[in-house]
């Protein structure tokens, strides 16, 4: 069931149901788009992204054995930043990417429950039904988040 959709047809994400939890389907015409859209998808579950201003920026650098692993580790890293620093992120820019290496700039601001309408607590990024593949129009990915 589609509930959230971003505007551009070339790239975006939507959420889908998985009994107690929530899945993300991500698509994009470029490799970068998958990383950026998946990050938006993750944080859109936790807060209303339009309310999050880009006051603080972090640079993230990751290296993994494959693009699939890189996507998994990327989402885990972002969740870790939120959980330990309470930094809500809303803007994501992949600066440099190869098939197994990623540098990205991410921006957002500290969580403020008076300002931000909060959503759900994401416990973990799971491997359940996890997928990252090439499609005729670019790439697509699927990941289920434990709520």
């Amino acid at each position: 069931m589609t509930t959230t959709m971003t505007a551009s047809p070339a790239r975006g994400f939507k959420t889908f149901d998985h009994t107690a939890d929530i899945g993300l389907e991500i698509w994009g015409d470029t490799f970068e788009a998958i990383y950026e859209e998946s990050a938006k998808g993750l944080f859109s579950l936790m807060a209303k992204l339009s309310q999050v201003e880009p006051h603080e920026t972090r640079t993230i650098e990751l290296k993994e054995e494959s693009g699939e692993e890189l996507l998994m580790v990327w989402l885990k890293e972002l969740l870790f930043i939120f959980d330990t620093e309470h930094l809500l992120l809303s803007q994501f820019q992949v600066v440099d990417i190869t098939f197994n290496h990623l540098t990205a700039k991410v921006s957002g601001e500290k969580l403020d429950s008076a300002k931000h309408q909060l959503g759900r607590e994401v416990k973990a990024v799971t491997r359940h039904l996890f997928e990252f593949k090439k499609t005729s129009s670019g790439f697509s990915a699927r990941v289920i988040l434990d709520i």
Partner: protein
Amino acid sequence: MKTQTEVPLRKIDDFRWEIPRDYKPGMRVPGLIFADEKLLKTLRFDQALEQVANVAHLPGIVRYSLAMPDIHWGYGFPIGGVAATDPDEGGVISPGGVGYDINCGVRLVRTALKENEVRPKLKSLIATLFNTIPCGVGQSGDIRISGKDRKHIVTKGARWVVAQGYGTEEDLAHTEAGGALEDANPDAVSNRAHERGKNQLGTLGSGNHFLEVQVVDQIFDEVLANRFGIELNQVTMMIHSGSRGFGYQICDDFLEVTRRALTKYHIQVPDIQLACAPVHSDEGKRYIGAMRAAANYAWANRQCIMHLARTVFEKVFGRSWGDLEMSLVYDVAHNIAKFEKYKIDGKEKVLCVHRKGATRAFPPGHTELPEDYREFGQPVIIPGDMGRNSYLLVGTSQALNETFGTTCHGAGRVMSRHQAVKDAAGRSIEQELEKKGIIVMGRGHRSIAEEQPAAYKDVNDVVDVVHHAGIAKRVARMRPMGVIKG
């Protein structure tokens, strides 16, 4: 993916269904599901039964891959799944068989208060609880853990919290495992787990976690209720939380470790989320040590939350919590793996029992029970949804003999989160519940909509099955008066 209709079920009796071992070539044991016809219908639309069959593939699994009547689709293991493995027969431990929220569990606290004494102050009580106990996304607790204390919390659990003055020896006696598992290994815990856990002690969290003020509305067993200090119209409090980010990270870390171990130990599993390692292997031992650390963190967490709640009652009712007789009835783990002794084919064995959304339910006389309860059996706490009921049950010999001393853990979701929000569109769940006399406070309407009563199976149906199957016995039923949610 197969649907439930394709998973063969053989009816054993009105409450027991078997998935034959020959359903899949890799199954080492049959599946055994506790359910009645009505609950079986709710399983038709997801993969939970398939997951019961998948769990039966685990090396060293003994007798059955079990499922409780509140079973639903999880990762690898179904939620409501139970599996015992024999470490001496190559038995494995699986982080997915415990889950992300290690030692998510529930405790029941009694009070000397009656419903009519609490009702006039209910709104202020719930509001003060909500403002005192951190809950919801990204909320920190007031109890910060220094580097030095980290080790104490993960090795001593609730015992450390009580030693700091936040509770009593009786609290510990009435907590499963005395509030701490021995042989937790702090060195097996990653820095990331410590980082995620350091500000979250004494926080409720989000999702299905809650603190509920309840009233006892039915007694099924007068004698046992009396022994557990429970009577009609009495106000009780239930706390449902776990090991927070600390446990989530440990599960995540060890799913990776065990995923890599599969090749090393030549283990084949039908689902990567069933990744596991032999109990006796280095990877298995490290996970067990880290899991115990998270279990101890969770017991410490629930003890801290109970302490905060006791101070709120003191403030609102102007009496000490001792005077309000706010003693802990019992605290049980819902997501855990424990080493327990069972007689298998006449021989005593120490088995590794995975309980993933299931509750230990030991019978009268069991040596692991506190002295004051030993004669009567273990209290089993079953939370329901926020509009209907919760239960106090007691463990039985039938459970010990048939389900490795295990019973159900709650209602189990029946509606997805999106469905629940859609279902609640244009309605105010808070107002609907208030009309029924239940005050709900949460961080957001959305999370309350997602957790609305209709999103869950009726816990009364679930408890009926375990009671009639004999794997726990009804003692008392509570209904909610007020709830705080993340």
